[in-house]
């Protein structure tokens, strides 16, 4: 079996096991988003307007929740040393870990989102559009988060460092994610314009994230 495939499968398996991050992120997302209607009140027009923004914020926070452990766990138990010594390119190993993270922490958010549309009085078709923006946008969050996770592991500081470093970088993703969602629900901007930029952000992250994270891990002492 190829080294990267092995790493990907191991991370997916770890996330699904007891103590893994797969369920925590999606539960956090459900709870945060479900709390908003209680805080804002039963104004269905208002909820419908802010719904996409709340879903996007919830997805952002939920994917960061599990991200800071992405390299820190491997660093603590010594696995990272062996991964760094491997003959396979480090960027691809990081990409394998990122894909495993997205599959177990990002994709469940996309699947859970339509369920939450009910809370915000968003009709089914619009909700499908919001889920679609999450589907193409959440990889960008994982890829950007890689950089923070790698720096945190390199500096041996976990906790809030990752969100504090990464949240400012995610602003473009948030802007275009919410813009595309709103375009699908209320218009008048065509859905395609912000949506393609969102796709572009994910693709740029796919390239930049692993390279930057590999540089951070290589220069760690």
């Amino acid at each position: 079996m190829n080294a990267h495939v092995a790493l990907f499968l191991r991370d997916v398996r770890l996330a699904l096991r007891v103590g893994g991050g797969a369920w925590m992120g999606v539960l956090f997302f459900l709870i945060v988003v479900a709390l908003v209607p209680f805080a804002v009140g039963p104004d269905s027009g208002l909820l419908r307007r802010i719904g996409p923004a709340i879903l996007w914020l919830g997805a952002l926070l939920a994917s960061l929740l599990t991200l800071d452990q992405l390299f820190a766990d491997d660093r603590e138990d010594g696995s990272l040393d062996l991964i760094l010594m491997g003959s396979a390119p480090l960027q691809l190993a990081i990409l394998a870990k990122a894909l495993a993270h997205w599959l177990t922490a990002g994709l469940p958010l996309v699947i859970a989102a339509p369920l939450l549309g009910i809370f915000f009085n968003i009709d089914l078709l619009s909700m499908a559009a919001v889920a679609l923006t999450l589907l193409v946008g959440t990889p960008a969050l994982t890829f950007l988060g890689l950089i923070g996770a790698a720096l945190a592991a390199a500096l041996r500081r976990g906790g809030l460092l990752v969100p504090v470093m990464i949240l400012p970088l995610t602003i473009p993703v948030l802007i275009f994610g919410v813009a595309a969602s709103n375009a699908a629900i209320v218009g008048p901007v065509p859905f395609g314009t912000p949506f393609t930029i969102l796709c572009a952000l994910s693709l740029a992250g796919l390239v930049i994230g692993p390279i930057a994270a590999a540089a951070a891990l290589r220069h760690a002492d």
Partner: protein, 201 residues
């Protein structure tokens, strides 16, 4: 095959651990690095594994695969055992076997060589410190690497485990392998060379 280092200097946190260090190790030879705590034994192994960069000096390998770096031709056994507690013994070893590349030895057989064959389905969280050490030693057997970098390999091992370790090291040397081990006591190899850090360096 020959591993040589010349004029190595290593600093950690602004403090010089050793300077001007050199050694040369040929195939079939073992070098035991000794020295008091904090003298830089582990740092020396990490330098060779490419996990730290030397401030000065160079490390080179001759006669190996010229396409691969020293790190890619080495097994590194650090203080940590690189095991995931929620995966079983077998899953842990199968992962490293797949990650480290062409397996020369099926993981099941490597488990048997370390006396862990009955524990293959047990989550690694339930292993004792010595059993974890055995499992990470089994990793060295799944894929062939000419150079073994062992950081206190016998830590936590019982007498039976230590004699298995000695047998494995003797076998590795007999096949022309190289061993560089950091240790506080004798590691059971009769004609191992010794490098003492601290006083002489």
């Amino acid at each position: 095959m020959r591993l040589s280092a010349a004029d190595l200097t290593c600093q950690r946190g602004g403090r010089e651990l050793f300077s001007g260090l050199g050694f040369s190790l040929a195939g079939g030879e073992a070098l035991v690095v000794t020295g008091r705590n904090g003298s830089g034994k582990s740092s020396l192994l990490r330098l060779i594994a490419g996990l730290l960069r030397p401030d000065r000096g160079r490390i080179s390998i001759e006669g190996g695969d010229p396409e691969r770096s020293i790190a890619e031709q080495a097994h590194y056994l650090g203080h940590q055992d690189a095991l995931k507690p929620s995966l079983t013994v077998g899953e842990n070893l199968r992962f490293w076997s797949a990650y480290l590349g062409p397996a020369e030895n099926p993981p099941e057989r490597a488990l048997g060589q370390l006396g862990l064959e009955d524990l293959a389905d047990l989550p690694a969280a339930y292993l004792s410190a010595g059993q974890k050490r055995r499992l990470s030693l089994a990793r060295l057997l799944t894929a062939h690497r000419p150079l073994w970098l062992l950081d206190e390999p016998s830590a936590a091992l019982d007498a039976e485990g230590q004699s298995r370790l000695t047998d494995l090291m003797v076998e590795h040397l007999a096949r022309g392998g190289l061993i560089l081990a950091a240790a506080h006591g004798p590691i059971g190899l009769a004609n191992a060379l010794e490098l003492k850090l601290g006083a002489a360096a």
